[in-house]
Amino acid sequence: MSTVSVEDKITLAKITIDEQQVLANSERTILETCRENNITIPTLCHDEQLNPLGSCQLCVVELEGHGLVTSCNTRVADGMEIRTDSAKVIASRKKILKTLLAEHYGDCVAPCQKACPAGIDIQGYLALIARGAFTEAVGLIKERLPIPATIGRICPHPCEQACRRNLVDEPLSICSLKRFAADQEMSGVRKFVPTLKPASGLKVAIVGGGPAGLSAAYYLAREGHAATIFETLPKAGGMLRYGIPDYRLPQNILDKEIDSIKNMGVKILTGKSLGKDFTVKSLLAEGYNAVFLAIGAHQSQKMRVEGEKLQGVLPGIDFLRNAAMGKETGMGKRVAVVGGGNTAIDAARVSLRLGAEEVTIIYRRSRTEMPATDWEVEEAEEEGVKLRFLAAPEKIIGENGKVKAIECIKMALGEPDASGRRRPEPVARSQFILNVDTVIAAIGQKPELSSLNSGADVMAPLSPVSEQDAIAVERGNITAHSETLLTNMKGVFAGGDCVTGAATAVEAVAAGRRAAMAIDRFLKGEDLAEPEKPFEITKGKLDEVNETEFAHFERKPRAKMPKLPEHDRLKGFPEVELGFPEEVARKEASRCLECGCKAQDDCDLRDLATEYELDSMTATRNLRLFPRDLTHPFVERDPNKCIACSKCVHICQEVQGVGALSLGYRVTPVGTSLSLMDTTCVSCGQCVATCPVGALVRKKGLKPAREVKTICPYCGVGCGIYLGVRGDFVVDARADFDNPVSRGNLCVKGQFGHEFINHPDRLKTPLIKKNGKFVEASWDEALGLIAAKLPQYKGDHFAALSSARCTNEDNYVFQKFVRGVMGTNNVDHCARL
């Protein structure tokens, strides 16, 4: 304890806090005293610049003989016995938090991000695209998904179904914008290069080079582990390469994304098959510290109809793989494709491109139940594929061992089945025959697991291993823990289609990342379980949200994807979707409604709800909603998130002396308050800085990847700021509360005036005026010209103006040049003005 003399007129109080004896300055509050003694007390309304407000009451502590008191406005007194963590205190705080949350209406996390299996910060990358920061957008995407150019072409994008813009007009074109950013980065000069942690010296074997395996390799490499992919086929990519035709995903795009993963040090060994060239055991024996099984689901399901063995009946997956590899497929001229998923559509469209004259898809339900994505079906129809709904094959008719026709029966839809889709039932005596020479079965895939547990010894002939050494399998899929992806075998993880059965690529990528993170924890000897997810509140699913909330948004139609004309599509496998031009992409990205709370990582209410273990929740239905104030260019106000702590009102009035804010909407029956632009607001942003939740947020602020401490470039005060940076873009700024000059205060320019840094007008290259016009020049050229010209002006024919905006170092070198090289003291700067 520091010495306290009588002259200081401090009276000390002897108190106990949580049974600890503390000597406290009796001028201080309980809250201040606790903080001085490193005891955390939660509060949502305390700001050191203000007198205690006592509005949130979260800072309650139990005072012996008095019960619960608010610690922010209760002074310590001799003999006090204080409990900061009693059951009563905790219960009271939980109750307060629940009460506040019952009136808190918003989405912590954007619904698109929640719908994305990979959990990509979609809102963040859309904002970056809108600003022209494409490489930075790719960087943000790659935090969750390492192959955006690929997935951006083929994803069924559940995010778009969840997009709240559906309630205004049409959803954002999220998926195609991802592709746009990735294409820009891929073809541009500025590349995103992931930062790798130092090498751990640990090795991980990944079996299967499909989306799950590639994704796991990316994130393992990022964490510093040496990842090796074992791929049975000639090239990595899995279903992305061998199941998805080139007109949807050109192989060179996939190649480039795989190359970028290889560039991180990932090894890919092709032509290596599990059970033949190695086994799980052999990998572990070779010194791999963990194994990730990502072998996919490459075996087509049988149709189980008569004639399935006839020549001309082709498993869909084999057909697509052979086509992708340029091998003979065995296809004839008249093709029937059985199934309603994307594989069926792909098989039909590939057939056309390989020269089939007539292609018919046979599907037992109707169009609405088709699992294939709408636009794939549309494109197939545009190209001439025929669709036969409500029909199922009964037998394949052969002649000389070859397919001659397929006999089908008409179906009708009955009651919904377990999947929620109406169950198709055959209509009696409705058989019909299609004359075809090829039948492609595309009714589903499953993992090929025959060699999973075989071959205990690579050199020995394949032999089954004992049960406890075997990797557990259930219903044809590998069994793995839903979160950690650990199998029943230590150090062996599995994910992707081989665990889930055939699913989407984005789910496989997500599984790869989850596995990589679990493996990383495993390798570090940490608990395998994922860290606890923070508390979340959501407005609810699309159909639970009040549409009137979105009524005032201007209608802006969704950008249309330019496509190759139909007549050009069937000549080979050119890509059909051509991608957005830059202008269209930026405009489309700016349609985003920015549903996710901009304070989601900086929200005291959310942090406390997490700390006090409240369950994530859907916001209370039928709350009285207030219009958001989006009129101000820098500050966004959402009264529906306000917890009425009133800090903003007091900061604005008492510290800024402005008085622009009120909580009018909380007390007036009409529920309105002035739009910020109609007040005396000076746009200093201090209300945003003090708001404990997302009721007042920066409109344009983007989540930075890192922050750099520096000094504001405007007036002579020299306020401390942090610039928020992502890639080569300054995306945000905030006050530096430790700067002794500004102590956390900033004005509008310091707070919001940094957009000029990345402005497209910035000079990027030297210019030389030739015939009255500026011509771009190299540095060598420009400096050479100057060095040739200046010697003739040495002495007092030369003058120079330095700058009060440049650094001391710039100014020093400049005047040294003028005096020392040019031989004159004719140097001045405009700030004398």
Binding site: I711, P713, L763, I768, K769, S803, T807, N811, V813
Partner: protein, 546 residues
């Protein structure tokens, strides 16, 4: 700066920003603090909340007036008379600090004698401020200690700017408000590194740390360090440089990070000067109005792309840190200059980092000698800081003035270089808006700031407006002897009768074509704050508005 150097021996802010909130009395003159130095504005407001007396002297009703105990509305250009009036009352009523004056100052009697011309009748007539208010201000300032004095370009940008500053210095010395916490004379610097540019010798008469080029010993020290010969002849100042260009004496110019074609008075004349050069190099982050006139334009990086230091208005050296890689092929200013020097065959420009440059600065600049990048990592340091264990100097002139004795100056009132007449009946005062900065090179490229303020406004009193038949929001033409601009009128009682105001942020309405390049004879500051104009209503107003 020249004024304070004469009076105290140093031109910089005597005290620190954070002391303002503990002052008992604050006198602000010629500063619209809440607009131009908003964070200092907060300190003033906090002081007022703490019970401080606030006196605001400003012709315009600025935001601070709402917090003031006393608002003195002097006519533009009459600051000196007002200050002398206040001092006359202090002397007449013997409210001055006799011990301080006799112990630490000189030339008091000559100064006292010069007060004879400033009886309150005369002062009231010149300034328009009622004598009772002058008396009240004098008693308040002299009787409430510590008192701090803040000023900015409102009193320096005049043809008699140095006299105004000397008057401010006199006032502080008279009441003993120097060398003590929360007192002092505090010029507020307009741009981020005005203080640093001056400290670094970006001035025609001094090397770094205000070491005179005319002084042989100083020159000798730099010649040894730089291994070169230096001219003993002080150079010419900015406005003289422009004049020299027109006269053909200056034939080549190198401009780094400034935009005189928009920022300097009588900008048509400035453009003419730049146009008449044989060779003009402009180095900037944007193709400014000045850069457009150049023969060679060199792309520099912004503050976000470089390492270095800025020195703020309270002499605090702070670290600027590189946040992103340079845009395009842009480069830090110092590197570009070094490259040119090296190509011209000169040694001494092979710095590898900003820190190496700073280390050379330290060696040659006593005030900076104890400051290192390592020390700056924690927090900024206020110069003078002679040794690496010196904590820096928040308050100057404690116990003794930098020059020894504080020097009182005898002063007389001079009319502004240009005063209203029949042809040009109004005074134009230039100012700055809250949402923009200087010539707008940076802020005009921030979308939101342009939403908050998108155009020039000619602010004028309702009586002046109605006499001319001008309504709020109508387009007007403002004409001076040197040029004319058009802009929208804003009718407001914030403007005093007879004076209009405009900013210089908007290239669309380049206010400085109007302003007067008349210079203060000592500091060579132009009279940007006062010139004579007339305002005409644009006849096609209706068409323009619809």
């Amino acid at each position: 700066m020249a004024g304070l150097a004469t009076a105290f021996g140093s031109g910089a802010m005597t005290n620190s920003i954070n002391e303002i909130e503990s002052a008992a009395c604050i006198l602000t003159i010629g500063t619209n603090t809440t607009y131009n130095h908003p964070v200092i504005g907060l300190r003033i407001k906090k002081a007022v909340r703490n019970g401080a007396k606030l006196i605001v002297a400003n012709p315009r009703r600025i935001r601070l007036c709402h917090f003031a105990d006393l608002w003195l509305r002097q006519r533009p250009g009459t600051d000196l008379a007002l200050l002398m009036g206040i001092m006359r009352v202090i002397v007449d009523e013997r409210l001055y600090d006799e011990a301080f004056i006799s112990g630490r100052c000189e030339n008091f009697d000559a100064f006292k004698k010069s007060l004879a011309d400033f009886d309150l009748d005369t002062v009231e007539k010149i300034t328009g401020v009622p004598r009772e208010q002058i008396k009240k201000a004098a008693r308040m300032y002299a009787g409430t200690k510590p008192a701090t004095l803040l000023y900015a370009m409102g009193i320096t940008q005049h043809a008699h700017g140095t006299d105004n500053v000397l008057a401010v210095g006199n006032l502080a010395m008279l009441t003993g408000n120097i060398g003590k916490p929360s007192s002092g004379v505090n010029p507020l610097r307009g741009q981020n590194n005005v203080q640093g540019s001056c400290d670094m010798g970006a001035l025609p008469n001094v090397l770094t740390g205000y070491q005179q080029v005319a002084d042989e010993a100083s020159r000798d020290k730099f010649e040894k360090a730089w291994q070169t010969k230096l001219s003993p002849k002080p150079g010419i100042t900015l406005m003289e440089i422009m004049e020299g260009a027109i006269e053909g004496k200056i034939r080549a110019m190198y401009i780094m990070g400034e935009n005189p074609a928009l920022s300097d008075p009588d900008s048509n004349h400035v453009r003419k000067a730049l146009d008449s050069l044989d060779f003009l190099i402009v180095q900037d982050i944007f193709l400014t109005e000045t850069a457009q006139l150049a023969h060679v334009v060199l792309p520099a990086v912004s503050f976000a792309e470089k390492d270095g230091t800025f020195t703020n208005t309270e002499r605090r050296v702070q670290r600027v840190r590189k946040a992103i890689e340079p845009i395009g092929s842009a480069r830090p200013d110092w590197q570009i200059v070094c490259d040119i020097a090296t190509r011209m065959g000169h040694p001494g420009f092979s710095f590898n980092s900003a820190e190496e440059v700073f280390d050379e600065i330290r060696k040659l600049t006593p005030q900076y000698a104890g400051i290192t990048y390592q020390r700056l990592d924690e927090a900024g340091i206020q110069w003078p800081c002679p040794t690496t264990d010196h904590p820096g100097t928040p308050i100057l002139h404690i116990g003794k003035f930098s020059r020894g004795k504080g020097h009182f100056s005898a002063l007389e009132y001079k009319l502004s270089a240009e005063t209203p007449d029949e042809q040009y009946p109004l005074i134009l005062v230039t100012e700055r808006a809250r949402y923009h900065y200087h010539t707008g090179t940076m802020t005009r490229r921030v979308e939101g700031l342009n939403i908050l303020r998108d155009q020039e406004l000619v602010e004028m009193n309702s009586k002046d407006a109605s006499a001319l038949g001008i309504g709020d929001g109508e387009m007007v033409r403002v004409v001076s002897r040197r040029g004319e601009v058009t802009a929208r009128a804003k009718v407001t009682e914030d403007s005093p009768l007879g004076a209009i105001s405009m900013t210089f942020h908007f290239v669309e309405s380049p206010t400085n074509v109007l302003t007067n390049p008349a210079l203060d004879p000592v500091a060579k500051i132009p009279a940007l704050k006062v010139c004579a104009v007339r305002v005409e209503k644009l006849t096609q107003t209706k068409a323009a508005k619809s």
